[in-house]
Amino acid sequence: MMPIDRRGLLQRAFVLAGATVTPGFSIDVLAAEVAGASRQLDARRFALLSALADTIVPRTDSPGAVDAGVPALVDGLLRNWASPSRRAELIAALDRIEGLAGPGGASFARLAPQVRHDLLTTHDAAALTPRPTEMPAAASLKRAPTVVDPNYGRPKQDPAEGKAPASLVGEAGGTARSKPPAVPSFMRGPVVADADYAKLKELIVVLYYYSEPALTKELPYEHVPGAWQPSIPITAETRPWGGAGNV
């Protein structure tokens, strides 16, 4: 999106991580993830999921998705949370990653981290491209059931996972349609080129940011804040509060 920024970020990651320009685990580490526990996914797909999670949220100066055990968590969701159709959709989205190196190319999990990053960046941008042409037919789109947030005075800026925040979704025919794709994710909801990839990415990202490593080393989280401070100054170190729900 912004090459200059990205280069700057990567340079910083290089300095902080100190190893490779693009952070990422080696195939050996990813393979080790596979061993042991009984999985929903077979070993090949689990390695692929691990490589995907590692590419989306790599270890930098803080733990990444593999450090946080996200692949096993996603596998657990496939087994315990996903309906059969959802499971098939997510696995299909995962399988589409496998072939990113093209016909005859290496398995995604076996690619070097930098190659994985570049391939996935392209795939991610295409998969998350809004599909404005479908907006007028929004009613026919697969929509989650209405999500109610009586709100009781507190904004739910982040939709609950798996649910389209009905009260916040731009409506076909409303003002939202005439706007360019806006910043917030809820404006897009399922209306992207590859909704199943979007869901898979969301699960990986959300499980990472819910994880103990992320909430101790990446974003600040206080389970018991103890007091409400309506105004605090921002410093160079200030990061957004992490946690589930209302943050």
Binding site: T55, S83, E161, L215
Partner: protein, 563 residues
């Protein structure tokens, strides 16, 4: 024989039981659901984000099978599903073209465990509304009759709020308000400058911003600003039956609680014209039994109370108990809901906040108060807030992976303003709960049929709710990014009320000024059923005030031998 039987242990039943017990009445509370204990196993407020089962999500097949209605509620998650009924076990019907989402919790404490805690008084304008415009039954009380009971309840439950001097939203006995953040103060200043007569205030909420000695006596402590309320609060920092009203009732030594007791009907003695007891079905064994009491309080919630009264028909009361007016089950109301406007405030202050405040901002009603309504009577208020967009949006709001994704998620998000309207719904006798002619639940009780839709006046509010929301966000320098202009399915406001309305005229209402059935002197109904109009304010505080007031009068009547 009990002095009093209270049907239901939720918001209204808990307070009714406390007030009756404190007046020396041996009181039985009947709860159809299971026993829960404050701080017991059902509470999940200890769960860290990484401990949430399935990341907080209920398994999809289970959600579709057991919680298709309850799952529509924002607070129904894998950490709270123990508090919602399984729709698969508790069916009801609606006309195909009139869905109604009945959100329920069957356990000791009812929905007082998961409630949103917003606590607002109705005003003189609200109690006079039916008389003024002719809709519904004229309230048999006015603000002055209930004001001391609002004081009493606010003090007991603890309500954080600010005094504002607004006639349409009377002040109360408040604990310190949870303050507005800097962006909300900016929003407030802009709204109040550009729209004289409108106010932006801190949401009044039944969380102990500062626990008082009488709260601490019950084991309740100051709110820790976690916003995990709907998982049950081990600090007892928000009012619930489990943490607050039932313990207060219990310490009198006058309370008996029986759970798993589904009320089938209330027994009426045609010779005396009074009710004598309650028939219950054991939820587990399905055995029937009867409890006798001198006075009976209906606190089962609006739809369930109507169900019980209708199912208590007898030769003497063939239309259902206390239903000579034919108003039992009618005038079902909720609030017009889910109408919202959201925008970004790029000019927001360069500050942040700490803690997860258990409330937001509130904009009291101004339409048909200080500004006219465009084609409708009554009005609406807004709940909302301005907060920084969180990590989820930063991480997922646009494409990108890798170190860049992490880096951008470390940056503070833009200020995001959100207001959601709550509109008053007029009482309409055609919005109605009846008993299904043939279907019964697994305990043999006729299920309810709910036939309810928002009406013309409510539809006429929608445009102005959205337009005003946009105008206010834009006045504060915000850029509107989304609107939700389709009213939510009725029921989703979770403010159902009106099905046994209070009124002056026994031919047109069910309850008198003391929440006493016109037809049955020792029967009182103090849950949402009693509401003759809905106001646009969250109604629980009013249910509690009416419950306390009715308990006081019932005890007086008993003492005087009048019931």
């Amino acid at each position: 024989m009990f002095d009093a039987i209270v049907i239901g242990s939720g918001m209204s039943g808990g307070i009714a039981a406390k007030e009756l017990c404190e007046r020396g009445l041996k009181t039985l509370v009947l709860e159809r659901g299971r026993m829960l204990e404050h701080g017991g196993e059902s509470y999940t407020d200890w769960m860290q984000p990484w401990e949430l089962p399935n990341g907080g999500m209920i398994p999809e097949e289970e959600l579709a099978r057991d919680y298709p209605i309850q799952g529509q509620c924002y607070a129904c998650t894998s950490a709270t599903k123990q508090y919602w009924v399984k729709d698969s076990e508790h069916p009801y019907t609606t006309p195909e073209d009139k869905p109604f989402s009945w959100i329920r919790g069957y356990h000791l404490g009812g929905r007082s465990i998961m409630w949103g805690r917003q606590s607002y008084r109705l005003s003189e304008m609200d109690f006079a509304a039916n008389a003024t415009d002719g809709h519904g039954s004229d309230w048999p009380i006015r603000y002055a009759d209930i004001a001391p009971w609002y004081d009493h309840i606010e003090k007991f439950i603890g309500v954080a709020g600010s005094k504002e001097g607004l006639p349409q939203l009377p002040d109360g006995e408040f604990l310190p308000a949870f303050g507005l953040n800097d962006a909300e103060l900016m929003f407030k200043a802009a709204v109040e400058k550009n729209f004289p007569g409108r106010k932006v205030i801190s949401g009044r909420v039944a969380n102990l911003s500062q626990a008082q000695p009488h709260h601490e006596e019950l084991g309740r402590t100051t709110c820790q600003v976690r916003s995990l309320c709907e998982r049950g609060c081990s600090y007892g920092a928000y009012h619930s039956s489990l943490s607050s009203s039932l313990p207060a009732a219990e310490r009198t030594g006058n309370l008996t609680i029986v759970t798993d007791a589904i009320v089938h009907s209330i027994i009426h003695d045609p010779r005396t014209g009074k009710v004598t007891g309650v028939r219950v079905i054991d939820a587990n064994t399905k055995e029937g039994r009867t409890y006798e009491g001198k006075v009976i309080f209906g606190c089962a919630s609006a739809i369930a109370t109507a169900q019980i009264l209708l199912n208590s028909k007898s030769e003497a009361q063939p239309n259902g108990l206390a239903n000579s007016s034919d108003m039992v089950g009618r005038n079902l109301m909720d609030h017009v809901y889910a109408l919202s406007v959201a925008g970004l405030m790029p000019n927001g202050p360069n500050t942040y906040y700490r803690g997860r405040r258990p409330t937001g901002l509130y904009i009291p009603r101004y339409r048909n108060v200080t500004e006219p309504g465009d084609g409708f009577i009554r009005g609406y208020g807004y709940q909302g807030g301005v907060s920084r967009m969180g990590w989820r949006n930063a991480a997922l709001g646009r494409p990108g992976v890798g170190a860049e994704l992490k880096e951008r998620t470390r940056k503070l998000g833009p200020w995001f303003a959100y207001v959601g309207g709550f509109g008053e719904m007029l009482p309409n006798p055609n919005n109605r709960v009846t008993l299904h002619p043939s279907r019964t639940d697994k305990w043999g009780v006729p299920i309810v049929h709910i036939d309810c839709a928002i009406g013309e006046n409510e539809h006429n509010m929608v445009g102005q709710i959205i337009a005003d929301g946009k105008a206010m966000i834009e006045a504060a320098g915000g850029q509107v990014i989304s609107t939700g202009s389709t009213p939510g399915t009725p029921g989703l406001g979770i403010h159902e009320m009106g099905t046994a309305c209070m009124g002056k005229d026994p031919r047109k209402s069910v309850l008198n000024a003391y929440n006493q059935a016109h037809d049955v002197p020792n029967l009182f109904v103090t849950d949402g059923s009693a509401m003759a109009s809905s106001g646009c304010q969250n109604p629980s505080l009013t249910y509690m005030a009416l419950s306390a007031r009715a308990a006081h009068h019932a005890a007086e009547f008993l003492k005087a031998g009048k019931v």
